[in-house]
Symmetry: D2
Amino acid sequence: MDFRELEERLVAFRDVRNWAKYHTPKNLAISAAVELGELLEHFQWGSDGEILEAVKDPAKREAIADEIADVVIYLTLLAHELDIDLDEAVERKLEKNGEKYPAKKY
Amino acid sequence: MDFRELEERLVAFRDVRNWAKYHTPKNLAISAAVELGELLEHFQWGSDGEILEAVKDPAKREAIADEIADVVIYLTLLAHELDIDLDEAVERKLEKNGEKYPAKKY
Amino acid sequence: MDFRELEERLVAFRDVRNWAKYHTPKNLAISAAVELGELLEHFQWGSDGEILEAVKDPAKREAIADEIADVVIYLTLLAHELDIDLDEAVERKLEKNGEKYPAKKY
Amino acid sequence: MDFRELEERLVAFRDVRNWAKYHTPKNLAISAAVELGELLEHFQWGSDGEILEAVKDPAKREAIADEIADVVIYLTLLAHELDIDLDEAVERKLEKNGEKYPAKKY
């Protein structure tokens, strides 16, 4: 799935439920932050070694995957409202990162 | 671009720079939160109407797009460390959302 | 209650429960972010007018107050670990803000 | 300084600058999250040991203290808007925590 397909599916999902009125830029940005907070909860107390051990359990891995997906979903809906093409945005950011951190310097 | 391709490119980018040692689950989760904070800055003081007006300016839109891309990039790197397939995760979450919020209820 | 008293009480609370081992800088910073995410949840979908109406309900106001308190608690514990005097820090930041935004300019 | 004094000083600071119109619940909640993101940046890549070493430098410690203070400041302003007494809120939360995690269990 690429971001354009994801965007189309999310907008269709939303429109069928008449939720567009809630999808203001501020609300969607806050929503992404709420879900990121829930994601962070999985990394709150364990050490990195304990976390990597814990995600061998498929249920734990799915719980974390769900939170990551939720952040991605809200960011895609936010990009939609702001007329941002996320495929293009990620592509451009990768290029900028390549220029900012030239491989030969490392 | 789908998540698998993005993941491959990010891991290659990272390995060439010898950054794998920094990419622990906690560090990447924190990094996603840092970038989300920078994204939120664009929604801090303006009203929704002012934000939608401001993003008509391509420079403003690109600045916000960069921050969204940064969050997506760190989430993809985090998923990589945790052996999470992000395409699958988003697909599964969309299904769960469909069951949780049945269209006919709205 | 000032920050020094709060800090003392929190450290005593923690030590009696043998939790110091979990209170690393990264864990406490993540914890503050987790609680802030829970706080943001109260501001996710409603308009500012709806939020101000909703907090007239004491139960809602207490739920939000709890989340704000949780963030303050983790920040105080984090400051403790980093040997930061929070009373002094807030005082100094107020002075810096006064210099950065001189009243006569507004 | 206790929260009531801090609240009074912040409200006076704000009113002299005519900023009350920006201080809606959503804007202040987002502002707290923005500052927390800036705080997290200090914990992004270093290990806990490296962070504890780094804060021995007074400039680094002050930079982190400033970010913690900024979050506290926005939370206090948010509490003000919602008619939440932060001294009371923290006191009550400490009591709830004491009941939730009885010392004798540990």
